[in-house]
């Protein structure tokens, strides 16, 4: 059997990768251990979140599936940071763990050129450093021109609860025992990472009267640019907030040596930003309580997810910990929390296209690259799918810059800085986040998507319509003047706003910090939809800030343009600090800009490198 592209692993990265490669016309095989676990959500029952929500929007703008599937699979929607500036707002939905995978599988099954097969991959077929195919555990060989590995946490994974370590992946699935060893043999550096998940609680054992309610937003949102909302605001499900207390803390402190992490049973490195509850107690001794959220996992079974309570304690301690919480005194734990450790490759061995530097036509995406999170995985999967296809078509790789998408930031960080802990996207990682907003994902990316052929004509048309509407609204604002009638004056006075001069145009008026569309709508009819008004208002209100960011981007792009020749011999660059020399040699950045972002390469090294390039290659300006 032979395929053009094989994708190994049916998680969020694998779904996007296989869909995209097939959509781009390449005969694709998605190979998964268990079809039922396609697009599985083994951890939190939500899609999106700060920065992550924007990744989902970006995936959608580029033709990926996650946003569309989330829109048809959730039971609560929330815009995070809605009281802050537009640059940091991000959507999050509570996705149903039953319907999300089902809906994703359906879309994959409906995708032309895509075959789904069950199997466990244990080895790769490589000839002259080029990928040729895969070998399954049963010995079957399948050939391909390009391979995308999205193995998630399944490489030599161990599930840990206290001193008990069980070989295997989430849900009691098997694990790939030999693939990471074989990758090591082929020249990959393998690192051991760790993550964890909290306990699940039986719904009817929770006393919700003791918990405070967290509602969904009272406004409609969608992740996708091409969807209308598929839910009803009033039918959204509630989540709940509870707190740890001194008793919980004492139980944890008394049993610390029994936890896998503190007992020394774990070798993998866990993420700092997503600490286990024992980490939180140990590191923040002075805090009297920690927040925990109770979130339903699905409408089709009665398990609740206890967010913030991830732990690797043995089961008996977990029971005592949970029972110390208000509202959970009689809780029944349906699934105990666990830590999982697994093998990942060193992302420094990747190109910006996500093709490995070690083996040609081999791509990797998702947790195997050291990231954490469904959205991060999906974003990479999409890019790997696009770039595998382009590689087979002899096209230049599609690389998103740091000023174009969170996905660009993510991949650049990974391949430039590497990671020693599971990498999660944060808004603070994006220095140009003012431009990487929820509201303008299509404006940033659909043009590219159209050129790449990753979206349908209909999707492109949706984008063109929006661009036209934005233009129309801008024109409307410029040409519409506000007459200061008695009624209008009264509205201004009511809000305590300064009166504008008579017949000021609406665009000028919107520049005033206090004037919003919400206010203008009370004065006159502005026949445009909310989303169009939002984009336009941001552009007008924050013009100065946006310009400032654009200036910074110009500076950055100037450094990106300073290419470093691929054949550069760093041993000939005198006076580089030895750490810098090692890092540059390993990462082989393509530009001075990328080189400057490598940790351990300081500005003096960059100066020396720039001087060397100027001396040796002369034409570096």
């Amino acid at each position: 059997m032979k395929y053009e592209v094989i994708v190994v692993g049916g998680g969020h990265a694998g779904c996007e990768a296989s869909h995209m490669s097939a959509f781009l016309g390449h005969k694709t095989l998605l190979i998964t251990m268990n079809k039922k676990n396609i697009a599985d959500m083994p951890c939190n029952p939500s899609i999106g979140g700060t920065a992550k929500g924007v990744i989902v929007r970006d995936i959608d703008a580029l033709g990926g599936l996650m946003g569309k599937v989330a829109d048809e699979s959730h039971f609560q929607m929330k815009m995070l940071n809605s009281k802050k500036g537009p640059a940091v707002q991000s959507l999050r939905c509570q996705a149903d763990k039953t319907t999300y995978p089902k809906n994703m599988l359906k879309r994959l099954e409906d995708t032309k050129n895509l075959t789904i097969q069950e199997g466990l991959v244990e080895d790769l077929i490589v000839e002259e450093n080029k990928i040729k195919g895969i070998v399954l555990a049963n010995g079957e060989k399948i050939l391909c021109d390009a391979l995308i590995l999205t193995t998630g946490t399944y490489l030599k994974s161990n599930i840990l609860r206290g001193a008990v370590s069980t070989e295997g992946g989430p849900h009691g699935e098997g694990r790939s025992n030999h693939l990471s060893d074989n990758l090591k043999r082929l020249g990959f550096t393998i690192q051991r990472l760790k993550t964890g998940t909290p306990p699940r609680i039986k719904a009817d054992s929770i006393d919700f009267s003791k918990c405070s309610i967290e509602e969904g937003d009272q406004k409609y949102y969608t992740f996708s640019h091409d969807d209308q909302p598929k839910y009803k605001i009033e039918e959204q499900q509630k989540c709940y907030l509870i707190y740890t207390n001194q008793e919980t803390h004492q139980i944890i402190l008394d049993n610390l040596d029994k936890s896998s992490m503190y007992g020394g049973y774990v070798t993998g490195v866990g993420p700092r930003y997503c600490p286990s509850i024992e980490d939180k107690i140990v590191r923040f001794k002075d805090k009297e309580r920690h927040q925990l959220f109770l979130e339903p996992e699905s409408m089709y079974y009665d398990e609740w997810y206890l967010q913030g309570f991830s732990t690797s304690m043995p089961e008996d301690v977990q029971v005592r910990m949970v029972h110390s919480l208000k509202g959970l005194e009689n809780a029944v734990i349906t699934k105990y929390a666990y830590a999982i450790e697994y093998d990942a490759i060193d992302p420094l061995q990747l190109k910006l296209s996500l093709e490995t530097k070690v083996i040609e036509n081999l791509f990797t995406a998702g947790q195997i690259n050291g990231t954490s999170g469904y959205e991060e995985a999906a974003g990479q999967g999409l890019m790997a799918g696009i770039n595998a296809a382009r590689k087979l078509e002899n096209q230049e790789p599609f690389i998103l810059k740091r000023n174009e998408s969170y996905i660009g930031v993510l991949i650049d960080d990974l391949v430039t800085k590497g990671t020693k802990e599971p990498y999660r996207m944060l808004t603070s990682r994006a220095e140009y986040r003012l431009l990487l907003r929820h509201d303008n994902a299509d404006l940033r990316l659909r043009g590219y998507a159209h050129e790449l052929g990753t979206i349908t004509n209909e999707m492109y048309q949706n984008y063109l319509n929006r661009v036209a509407k934005i233009k129309e609204l801008n024109e409307f604002l410029k040409t519409t003047k506000l007459e200061l009638t008695e009624e209008v004056k009264a509205k201004f006075q009511e809000q305590n706003f300064n009166l504008p001069p008579n017949k000021m145009n609406l665009q000028e008026l919107l520049k005033r910090p206090e004037i919003t569309f919400a206010f203008l709508d009370t004065l006159l009819a502005i026949p445009f939809s909310e989303d169009i008004k939002e984009v336009v208002e941001i552009a007008i209100k924050y013009e100065g800030y946006i310009k400032k960011t654009e200036k910074e981007i110009e500076k950055m792009l100037k450094l990106e343009e300073k290419q470093i020749p691929t054949d550069i011999d760093y041993s000939k660059v005198k006076n580089l600090a030895s750490e810098a020399r090692v890092k540059l040699e390993k990462i082989r950045p393509i530009s001075i800009g990328q080189a400057a972002r490598i940790s351990g390469v300081n500005p003096a090294d960059i100066s020396i490198l720039a001087i060397y390039l100027k001396k040796e290659y002369g034409k570096n300006d």
Binding site: T50, A51, L80, N81, K84, G85, P86, A87, V88, Y273, F284, K287, H290, Q291, F293, L426, T427, S428, E431, L434, P513, E514, Y542, Y545, K548, T549, E552, K555, K558, L559, K562, K574, N575, A577, I592, A596, N602, P603, A604, D605, I606, S607, I608, A610, I611, K614, K615
Partner: protein, 449 residues
Amino acid sequence: MEDTIAAISTSLGVGAISIIRVSGSNAIFIVNQIFKGKDLTKVNSHTIHYGFIMENDEEIDEVLVTVMKAPKTFTTEDIVEINCHGGIATTKKILELLLEKGCRLAEAGEFTKRAFLNGRISLLEAESVSDLIESKSNKQRQMAMSGISGRTTSLVREIRDKLLDVIANIEVNIDYPEYEDAIEITHENLKEKVEPIKKDLELLLKNSEVGKIIKSGIDVALIGRPNVGKSSILNALLNEEKAIVTDISGTTRDAIEAQMTLNGIEINLIDTAGIRDTEDTVEKIGVDKSKKILETADLVILVLNNNEALTTEDKELLEKIKDKTHLIFVNKTDLENKLVLETNDTIVTGNTKDLDGLEALKKKIVEMYHLDEIQEKDLTYLFNVRQIDLVKKALANINQILNDIQKNIPVDMLEIHLREAFDNLGLLIGETYEDELIDKLFKNFCLGK
């Protein structure tokens, strides 16, 4: 390997001792060839050795030689310093011998350049070194040294840390909106947090103004109508006939510069041609020049004639200088008082014939610039234009925040200014990379040949 460079690193013919510095991989080997005494290739690092510099069998000079081995040296390369007797001929002779044996004559600033390129010093420090080399007075030297010791750097680093704290807090608020662990940064507490930073930056700038004074002195321009006695005042201050003084008005056609020292600070006195409307082309050039000097001077002294009533031209001059730091000297008090002056400006009166009022004038300048308070020991100053400019930019960023808080701009947007301030200060201490820096390097260090 870099080649080995040599240069005389003390002023030729000035001191009793001259030092010749040699740096590079062959430094010890080369000096050893012309040295009679211990075998320098076998001595420990950072040791001094007595001996003679030889040309064949002839003793050129009796010397002390300091051997410092890489990497703990200024350039991080092997360095040898030859302390010889300070005559021009001897010093030059030794340098010639070194060049014969394979050293290359160092370009200006090349030792510093190597120190910078080898990561031994930051750009700020490199700049300080070049300032040190160019320094004239003791205070200047001290200030340049304090740059090298990283005093300014650590101060700037402290301010950056404060900025980073605020930035980090804002980021936590954004990335973990539902967690109450971090205090929410609001407009109110942001203001509280940036105001001390603003004060720090302002203090640094104020100190740097003092730094500028120490480094470049104070430019004082004497202006006034022709023949009010500007040149005589200058001469009296300097006790020498520098300006041409006659009774014919319009004699001083060029701005004349002279220096004197007040409390160890250089005062650059600039005598301007009288400013008046004139048809004489030569004089007109002088007048235009004077107007320009008026713009750039730190302090303007307007000289008025006690013996004449205030003219329209005087009034125009008073108007011109009103926004500049200035004082008025009413000259010719030995003659009858015809001048009536209604002003709140600082006035010193006197006449050059009896040398009256000149000490009072000097005292006034000392007072105005607090020259008696300048401390030599605590010099956390920045003193070149690039450095001062970066601090000014950072200050502007902070002011923008305070301004935009009024406009109700969201805190996460204001953070852009915080980051920019952070970067500007990073550039200052070389912890941020900027392309212009390279251009600057190429300009200063003549690279890329």
